[in-house]
């Protein structure tokens, strides 16, 4: 296919080339992660997507689905500092962010930084800790800085929080408020591996020596890639498509979706539009494209939107979840 030269066309072509060059680490990273994680390609892809889009992920899945392994491996592969925080009901905000400790020798207070000062954080079972701890974490996620005593400390980039939630055992949990869930760019539902994948997992675990993950990507590569992701071209037709999807969650009747109107308590926030656009660009980057196509939007739409749509009691009574609502919306909104 011939491409007539023109300023804009050259830009896209140049961007495509740059993306091809800069996204090369994605394959290397995938290969390295594949040594330790079998299956869970979807989760790994979403981890990378969040890392490139500078967002955070909320993972929902039963225990034992390699959530911790995935993020630990990712941290090792990009030579980043990793922290795992097990959220419990007796956890205090200071346990997370750090605190001032009195130094008897020097007769003054010194700062003891908490586990949040890392590049990749695994906030395990985030809904087990009380609201004040959740709020401390989510504030750090939003502001990318932590205040201890009178001083504020910037968190090191890249900073990615991967929080997990257990969909079962809801007793004694503190569900995240809607406003706080909204701060996660993606909510990914992790499912069981396929039979064949699980067979491979058994075999891998029978080996005496575990697979070691080598650092294959520099942090600078990730930070550079983040800049490029923001430059990925998004046509106004795609912007309109994103807006139509988000607005359909707020005013379904405007999109001939009267049947789901009674199931939606509140629609997605403007943060959903921002994250949908950003995640689409990151997805296009992973797919080595310098422009976003509707397929990109649809591919990440469920993960961006599922925690941002409030369901009514009627929906719960009818056993309708947000995924079904998103499907209805995607089937009703015209693709540009």
């Amino acid at each position: 296919m011939e491409i007539i030269s023109g300023n804009t066309t050259v830009d896209i072509a140049a961007l495509n080339e740059r993306i091809n060059r800069e996204s090369a680490f994605v394959d290397v990273l995938n290969l390295e992660l594949g040594k330790a994680i079998i299956g869970q390609k979807y989760m790994v892809e979403r981890l990378m997507l969040a890392m490139l889009a500078n967002g955070h992920i909320l993972l929902e899945g039963v225990p034992g689905l390699a959530k911790t392994l995935a993020i630990k491996s990712l941290a090792s592969a990009i030579h980043a500092k990793f922290s795992r925080i097990q959220f419990t009901p007796d956890l205090l905000p200071g346990d997370l962010t750090g605190t001032m400790i009195f130094n008897q020798k020097e007769n003054n207070f010194t700062v003891k930084k908490g586990p949040i000062f890392a590049n990749l954080i695994l906030a395990d079972e985030i809904n087990r800790a009380p609201a004040k701890v959740q709020s401390a974490l989510l504030e750090a996620m939003q502001e990318k800085q932590v205040t201890i005593g009178e001083n504020s400390y910037k968190l090191e980039e890249p900073f990615l929080v991967l929080a997990t939630q257990n969909p079962i055992e809801q007793e004694g949990t503190y569900p995240l408020p809607e406003a706080q869930v909204d701060r996660f760019m993606l909510k990914v539902v992790v499912t069981y591996p396929k039979k064949e994948e699980e067979r491979m997992i058994i075999r891998q675990n029978m080996q005496l020596a575990g697979q070691t993950i080598n650092p294959v990507v520099r942090q600078e590569d990730i930070l550079n890639a983040r800049k490029t992701v923001r430059e990925v071209y998004m046509d106004e037709k795609i912007e309109r498509y994103i807006l139509d999807i988000v607005f359909a969650t707020r005013n379904p009747e405007d999109y001939k979706l009267n049947k789901i109107k009674s199931f939606i308590n509140y629609g997605a926030s403007p943060r959903a539009s921002i994250n949908l656009a950003l995640a689409s660009k990151a997805y296009a980057f992973i797919k080595r494209r310098g422009y976003v196509i509707p397929e990109d939007v649809r591919a990440i739409c469920f993960d961006v939107m599922r925690h941002r749509i409030g369901l009514t009691y009627e929906a719960e009574a009818e056993n309708i979840n947000s995924e079904e609502i998103i499907s209805e919306i995607l089937n009703a909104v015209e693709v540009p």
């Binding site: 011939e2 491409i3 804009t8 066309t9 896209i12 071209y233 046509d235 139509d244 422009y291 015209e334």
Partner: protein, 337 residues
């Protein structure tokens, strides 16, 4: 007023003393004294407040209403405060009062007010005296009292020879249309307002929908699609540098054709989804390829700012026609429809 009377009495006494002690005084002195007395009397009359109480009757039956009128006459220079009874006037129960009437005379003013009084016991009652406060010429507050009226309140004669009768039941007053008219009018008004509101709201909602219903063409899908493609060709969009519009219209026509021909929501599907969907149909590879090539080129034009050469633009149209030719219903299928 009392002071004035004392003054007048003193004057009279003085006059007597003068008369007794000096009978020989001349007519001139007496006349001067009389003129002076008259002046004093006139001056005192100038400051006087006269409150008069009159009643419609002096005899009422227990519980009946009695109208009593209080008239307060005073000179214009005096300020008075009309009484405002609360519970009683004299020892009679106060029911209500009228507005104050003002009658202006040459040098005086008369304030009049009616009181409705009643008594709930038999005997002699007193409607008065009523005290009226005023400011005298010296600037002090003084009181003028009205006269008192004795009212005889008689009770109703009870014939004890007859037994007591039970209390009468409430009267059953028949309803009239007049009573219901305001309610009926109000309801009709509200109903009209509600209907207007609903119509306006619907009109507003009707204007709002982003997604419009897609009417099905009267022609069979392949004929309709060919007509649309012909129309697009005639508009010569890409020749006018409206390449993006050209491909948008081209793909929209193809997507709608798929929707009308195969009954699935192609307009809401991405190129990948269309590829997946047509993969399940028993179509020639050439047909699939011609459609997908057009859609992919269109995606690049629409989303990646690609500017294809004129050959590519023409080829896209050619492929669109080809796809319709390939997928046009066969004779048997047409007959079945």
């Amino acid at each position: 007023m009392i002071d004035m009377r004392i003054e007048i009495n003193e004057m009279r006494n003085a006059e007597c003393r003068i008369r007794n002690e000096n009978n020989r005084s001349g007519w001139l002195s007496l006349s001067c004294l009389l003129v002076f007395s008259l002046f004093i009397l006139f001056a005192s009359a100038q400051n006087s407040v006269i409150a008069t109480l009159t009643a419609d009757s002096t005899r009422i039956t227990i519980g009946d209403h009695l109208n009593v009128r209080l008239a307060v006459k005073h000179s214009k220079s005096i300020k008075i405060l009309m009484p405002t009874p609360k519970d009683s006037v004299g020892n009679m129960d106060f029911i209500s009062s009228s507005k104050i009437d003002t009658i202006e005379q040459a040098t005086d003013v008369v304030f009049a007010q009616k009181y409705t009084l009643s008594a709930y016991d038999s005997g002699v009652f007193h409607a008065g005296p009523v005290a009226v406060l005023y400011k005298n010429s010296a600037g002090g507050v003084d009181t003028a009292f009205s006269n008192d009226i004795a009212i005889t309140v008689s009770t109703v004669a009870v014939d004890t020879t007859h037994p007591f009768k039970p209390i009468k039941a409430p009267l059953d007053v028949p309803y009239s249309w007049k009573e219901f008219t305001p309610y009926i009018g109000g309801s009709v008004g509200l109903l009209i307002l509600a209907v207007i509101g609903i119509i306006l709201w619907r009109k507003y909602r009707m204007q709002k929908p982003v997604v419009q219903a897609r009417p099905k063409p009267k022609d069979p899908p392949h004929i309709w699609a060919r007509k649309e493609l012909k129309k697009l060709e005639d508009e010569k969009l890409w020749q006018k540098d409206e390449v993006k519009m050209y491909y948008s219209r081209l793909t929209e026509t193809l997507r709608l054709y798929l929707e009308f021909r195969y009954q699935w929501l192609a307009l809401e599907s991405t190129t990948e989804e269309i590829e997946e969907q047509i993969g399940s149909y028993n179509l020639k590879e050439k047909a699939k390829e011609s459609l997908l090539q057009t859609l992919r080129t269109a995606d690049l034009v629409k989303f990646a700012k690609m500017l294809p050469s004129p050959d590519v633009n023409m080829k896209a149209m050619e492929n669109a026609y080809k796809f319709i030719d390939f997928t046009e219903p066969k004779e048997e299928e047409k007959k079945q429809n």
